[in-house]
């Protein structure tokens, strides 16, 4: 579970994942929830401390992952506007040039 969280947790992704800032069935979130339940079973010896440390690490990781995804989401949305704005601005300049030439070409 922890290894899956380590290997399969993704930050970013395709355009939709970046824009949504969300990974469907995030392994880290899943592991964090499951560790809580496992902690109730392992109550002998060093297990409680290890489980607590593991939970602490996973919780910290989840927090960082969510924060990173949120940042990526904000950046992706801002970039999305730029992907609309910049090409259209360049195209608008081209259209303006075409318009001016056309007006004087067929006067």
């Amino acid at each position: 579970m922890v290894l899956r969280a380590r290997h399969e947790t993704r930050i970013g992704g395709n355009i939709f994942q970046q824009l949504s800032g969300h990974q469907h069935h995030c392994p880290t979130t899943f592991a964090t929830r499951q560790i809580q339940n496992l902690g109730k079973k392992y109550i002998n010896g060093d297990h409680p401390k290890l489980m607590r440390d593991l939970y602490s690490v996973l919780l910290h990781k989840e927090k960082l992952v969510l924060k990173a995804r949120y940042s990526i989401m904000l950046k992706a949305r801002l970039d999305g506007w730029l992907y609309l704005h910049v090409p259209l601005s360049i195209a608008l300049l081209a259209a303006l040039i075409a318009h001016i030439v056309a007006v004087f070409f067929y006067w």
Binding site: D53, V86, A95, F105, Y106
Partner: protein, 547 residues
């Protein structure tokens, strides 16, 4: 308390170091990959808690490794060592270098990952995913320039192509979507639609305005506004056809209906032409001069002010009484009394502006009137044509009468002079009889006008074959040739509301409405409530003769 300046060192794409500084502090400073460590080294080759920086009793700082953790200090495996500027500590893939501590700090450490995992391993462990849209291969610059190139190609280069080759121009005009469609600011006006997409018909040279020559290539008959060429050229030297005729604004376009262009000259004609004789005018509703009537007398054509009624006489060479024909009790005819209305004779032509020409057969012979009978001593019907045609017909009747019963009818003829040809004698006799009786049955008897003479002015011609000459007609088609008027648009009112013909006894009467009569319904360019807005071009045309 230890105050440490932590310098995170990374490398930019060019391999140059990028230093990011932060301050950490504590009784001791833990180094490891676990979250609580103040110096967090994210790599699995680093222990959760790998080493700790502590202060010794003499105040110096030293680093101490955890159990089973390896420290490589200045190239030697050590468990602990004092930290002084220049000391290199390798922990896993990280290199920590002790730098001179700035003021306010006990120590300065630069941390850099010097032994990253191979690419394959990183991908395997971190599963690196694109974190920006640029990582997905999208490029704003490529997208923008691609879009701009498409626009330039479709909306600039393609429309230019037809001007390079006339063959290409003809070909593209047949396409459902032409190359120049994107440059067309609007649909062409009615007649110009036949030009279609052949822009070069009017736009003959690139980067030059549409010339008047391009217009006159088709519109050869369009007259100049002023008959005097020099005057026209001097006044309208800066005016092009397109100054008034703007195309590409739809079917209703092409003609400028605004009166400002007209008023700019006609508001003060003397300023443009000191020899001008027309009165100034600004608006039909306020200062348009009274109407003039154009009268012809066979030789001269003169414009007579409507106020000078004595000069308003039509010399059409016809005799006609509107009063008789428009009698409310009806006019006497072979079919009885017939009540006539204006439209019985005056039928609007297809253009809706004038009336169709009247003919005797279709107009005057309604109810069998004006059938041109001659009755004595033979009965017949003369044709409506030239005097000679009428006389030939009459002669034909008398010739037949003489040949049918020569003994009886030749008695009225003069005896034959000598032993001449009998047939010739008969023809001479018929001619004499025709002349004698035509005069008394077709033209005039005892001062009374008959048949032809009812309508026509005539006089003796001295010609043996056609002894009477009918005066040529001079019927005026336009009383106001400088204006256009559509009778078809005014058929909501009776003719006699404008034309006072009910009491007109002679055809010489001219019954044209005055400007006051028009103003009962029409106003100027700023119309009052209940009146029709009328601009200059409601009645006038810039080009003489235009409809």
């Amino acid at each position: 308390m230890i105050s440490c300046l932590l310098i995170q060192v990374s490398r930019n794409p060019q391999g140059l170091p990028v230093r990011k500084e932060s301050t950490i502090s504590g009784e001791s400073i833990q180094i490891g990959r676990s979250a609580p460590c103040k110096i967090n080294l994210l790599d699995h080759r680093v222990h959760l808690l790998h080493a700790t920086i502590k202060r010794s009793e003499d105040g110096t700082l030293y680093i101490e490794g955890e159990k089973d953790a390896t420290l490589n200090i200045n190239g030697f495996i050590e468990h602990s060592a004092a930290l002084s500027p220049g000391t290199h500590v390798e922990i896993g893939p990280y290199l920590i270098v002790v730098e001179p501590a700035p003021d306010g700090h006990d120590i300065a450490l630069s941390v850099e990952m010097t032994q990253p995992l191979p690419e394959q391993d990183m991908a395997k462990t971190c599963r690196a995913a694109p974190v920006t849209l640029a990582n997905l291969g999208l490029s704003k610059r490529k997208l923008g320039f691609g879009l701009a190139a498409c626009i330039i190609f479709i909306f600039l280069l393609l429309p230019m192509l037809p001007s390079i080759s006339s063959a290409l121009d003809k070909w593209q005009a047949t396409l459902p979507v032409t190359l120049t469609d994107s440059w067309s600011p609007g649909p062409l006006a009615g007649g110009h639609r036949v030009i279609g997409a052949k822009c070069s018909t009017c736009h003959q040279r690139p980067f030059q305005p549409v010339s008047d020559d391009a217009c006159s290539a088709c519109h050869k008959q369009v007259a100049k506004h002023l008959a005097k060429k020099d005057l026209h050229a001097s006044i309208f030297k800066k005016v092009r056809c397109t100054s008034c005729h703007l195309d590409h604004i739809g079917r209703a376009g092409l003609i400028l209906h605004d009166s400002s262009g007209c008023v700019s000259c006609h508001g003060d004609l003397k300023r443009k032409n000191p020899n001008a004789t027309r009165a100034n005018t600004h608006d039909f509703g306020s200062d348009h001069p009274p109407f003039h009537i154009t009268v012809q007398d066979g030789k001269n054509i003169t414009r007579v002010p409507q106020a000078e009624k004595g000069k308003l006489v039509e010399k059409s060479q016809l005799k006609y009484s509107h009063q008789v024909h428009l009698d409310k009790k009806g006019v006497s005819s072979p079919l009885g009394r017939t009540v006539m209305v204006c439209q019985d004779c005056h039928k609007i032509d297809e253009a809706g502006t004038h009336f169709a020409p009247m003919t005797l057969r279709e107009t005057c012979q309604q109810s069998r009137c004006h059938t041109l009978y001659f009755t004595e001593p033979v009965e017949g019907k003369a044709p409506h044509g030239s005097e000679r045609e009428a006389m030939d017909k009459v002669r034909e009747f008398y010739t037949k009468r003489l040949t049918d019963s020569p003994a009886k009818n030749m008695a009225g003829c003069a005896p034959a002079s000598g032993a001449g040809n009998a047939a010739k004698h008969t023809l001479e006799c018929a001619n004499n009889l025709a002349r004698k009786y035509a005069a008394t049955t077709l033209f005039k008897e005892k001062g009374e006008d008959l048949e032809c003479g009812v309508c026509h002015e005539f006089e003796p011609s001295g010609d043996n074959q056609a002894p009477w000459k009918v005066a040529p007609l001079q019927i005026t088609r336009d009383w106001q040739p400088g204006a256009v008027f559509a009778h078809s648009k005014h058929d909501t009112i009776n003719c006699t509301e404008c034309h006072d013909k009910l009491n007109s006894k002679v055809s010489a009467d001219i019954a044209m409405p005055t400007i006051e009569k028009c103003r009962e319904c029409h106003d100027g360019s700023k119309s009052a409530k209940g009146k029709i807005r009328s601009t200059c071009d409601s009645c006038h045309r810039f080009h003489p003769g235009a409809k």
